[in-house]
């Protein structure tokens, strides 16, 4: 029971990160391999503000979000827009965006190593036990989970019940047709990419309250986010959340029953099963 709850709590934060990636890939069509680095940037900001100025990580979310939004918007406009323009097909854009964001991820890791050094970053925030169904859980994990639920919930409502959200979903389904009904696809893609980056960075700030981060851990989170997005289906927020919870539980199961060093191997195991049996995602329909 406590394994499942710990897994669900972890999965909640994963959902946040993967939702960010899904917005970037599903709407802006950018397979962003530097996603994990954006997460680490968010985590480091929370660390610096908490240890330097004593600002609670929950408040930091409101600082991280606009900064990450602006940063990602600039990345999209300066670096990725030219690729979108020169790409002849979706496959070519995918390939070029993979290469570019891969280079970007190394650049960001390098910058963070330079500024912060290669050591681990950890701070103690709300490290008190909290009793739930008779078992003890870290209060920071519960708070992190609640933050994730609130952010995902707001995002879900906004995407499904607002005009701008509907436009974004339209671009996700078909950029060509969205253009025909008067949606400014380039502008909206930039916004979706920026929102995705902001959500991921918030996820980083949240995750830093209970996990140890260092400058080069980003790629592990990129991997997990990618696996979740594929499991849940590209462009499907609901699927992403459920896939994230499944991954969180699966990983916690493997970590506590077999070995904590095998979390990525566990994620990979699930990835292989999905690839073999449901490559269109858990809730996706088979392409005709």
């Amino acid at each position: 029971m406590d394994i499942i709850i710990t897994g669900l709590l972890l999965g909640g934060t994963y959902a946040l990160i993967a939702t960010g990636l899904n917005l970037q890939y599903g709407v802006a069509r950018i397979m962003n391999l530097a996603n994990g680095e954006m997460l680490v940037v968010g985590g480091f900001t929370a660390f610096a503000l908490y240890t330097g100025a004593g600002i609670s990580p929950v408040l930091t979310l409101f600082i991280v979000a606009p900064i990450a939004y602006a940063l990602n918007w600039a990345i999209y406009r300066v670096m990725l827009r030219p690729l979108v323009k020169r790409a002849k097909s979706r496959g070519m854009l995918e390939q070029e965006s993979i290469l570019t964001t891969f280079g970007l991820s190394f650049t960001m890791v390098g910058l963070m190593l330079w500024i912060f050094g290669g050591s681990y970053f950890k701070y103690s925030f709300l490290a008190r036990p909290f009793v739930l169904f008779g078992d003890n859980y870290g209060l920071n994990r519960i708070v992190a989970f609640l933050c994730a639920v609130i952010i995902c919930g707001v995002l879900y409502l906004w995407l499904n019940h607002s005009r701008a959200g509907m436009a974004i979903r339209a671009v996700a389904v078909s950029p060509e047709s969205a253009r025909l009904v008067g949606i400014d696809v380039p502008k909206l893609s930039a916004h979706a990419f920026a929102i995705g980056g902001a959500v991921t960075a918030m996820g980083g700030a949240v995750i830093s309250t209970f996990l140890t981060l260092d400058a080069s851990t980003g790629v592990i989170f990129t991997m997990k986010a990618l696996i979740i997005v594929i499991m849940g289906g590209v462009g499907d927020i609901r699927g992403t959340i459920i896939a994230a919870l499944i991954l969180g539980v699966g990983e916690t199961l493997v970590a506590s029953l077999i070995n904590p060093g095998l979390t990525l191997a566990a994620a990979y195991g699930m990835f292989i099963l999905i690839l073999l049996f449901r490559p269109q995602g858990l809730f996706g329909r088979k392409p005709t």
Binding site: F106, M223, L262
Partner: protein, 310 residues
């Protein structure tokens, strides 16, 4: 075979022969650099054999390379050394086949994502096995010198070039070029796209494992973090891209300047290697998307059109 084929073949053999004379200089630094260039040359060329025509970016080099080093590390006490690189090649090929079967039936993104984390996953499993059995790293003690490693790698290079040349002329190579141009057209033509891709992906997998097995004696002490460095996959991609993947000789044209540049960078800025590698990568993607081969072809085409006007 045409006269042109013979000419290329002889030219390639002569160049390799000249390269094989390097250890005779007796300069230890030059030989060490030569081993690096030969290693990256083989890895980048075999990488481009698959990723060049198909445009599928494989980030799995480090995984196969690491598997190869572990074949040597765990087999050196049991088997004679000469049996290990071929064995590594077989294991690497089988692994590549499995990875290919799982991912290459689907769109390219799945393949990239899968290969991105493959090295890390195998590293976790190896570390876990080692912790479970109680021994951390292993020693590879042989009487092989840098010279021997260098010559072995040149031998593999010769095989890779021959294989690449043969594949380029075969039905398989032709099929893959069509797949790379338009996968739908390829399947309408009756090409079994999945089988062709998996078959070709086995080549870089086996070659990277062989190279890993050959490099292992150089490391002497082998542990998971040195055998599965994710940086290796990245370096191979960047070098092959710098040279250009459109021609068989492309990657080596990128490998030589980049290895020398990397030598300077890692000596002068040891703390900024990751940053500089990322920046180099971005520069290549934006400024030289088709590598030196593309640049050369552009200049060549311009010279030709100038001649035509005169």
């Amino acid at each position: 075979m045409t006269t042109r084929d013979w000419k290329n073949l002889v030219l390639g053999a002569v160049l390799l022969g000249i390269a094989a004379l390097l250890p005779l200089t007796g300069d230890a630094y030059a030989i060490a650099l030569g081993v690096n260039i030969a290693m990256y040359g083989v890895l980048a060329t075999s990488w481009a054999l698959f990723s060049g025509p198909t445009h599928y970016i494989s980030l799995a080099t480090a995984a196969f390379f690491g598997v190869g080093t572990y074949v040597t590390a765990s087999g050196i006490d049991v088997l004679p050394y000469w049996a290990l690189p071929p064995l590594a090649g077989i294991i690497g090929g089988i692994l590549a086949g499995i990875v290919g079967l799982a991912t290459l039936r689907l769109s390219g993104v799945y393949f990239v994502i899968f290969t991105l984390g493959l090295a890390e996953m195998i590293r976790q499993i190896v570390t876990w096995r080692q912790n479970a059995t109680g021994h951390k790293g292993s020693y590879v003690l042989t009487d092989l010198t840098e010279n021997h490693i260098y010559w072995q790698l040149l031998g593999v290079a010769a095989l890779v070039y021959l294989a690449g040349w043969a594949i380029g002329r075969s039905r398989l190579g032709f099929a893959l070029r069509i797949i790379g141009d338009d996968e739908q057209v390829a399947s309408h033509l009756g090409i079994n796209t999945a089988v062709s891709k998996v078959a070709l992906f086995i080549v870089p997998g086996a070659v990277a494992a062989i190279v890993g097995a050959m490099i292992a004696p150089r490391y002497i002490y082998i542990e998971p973090s040195t055998a599965f460095t994710p940086m290796l996959s990245f370096q191979v991609v960047i070098m092959a891209m710098l040279g250009g993947t459109g021609r068989l000789w492309g990657p080596i044209v990128g490998v030589i300047p980049f290895t020398l540049l990397w030598e300077v960078i890692s000596v002068s800025f040891p703390n900024q290697t990751t940053l500089l590698l990322g920046l180099c990568f971005l520069l290549i993607v934006y400024l030289l998307p088709n590598g030196f081969v593309g640049l050369f072809q552009k200049i060549h085409a311009r010279a030709l059109s100038k001649e035509a006007y005169q």
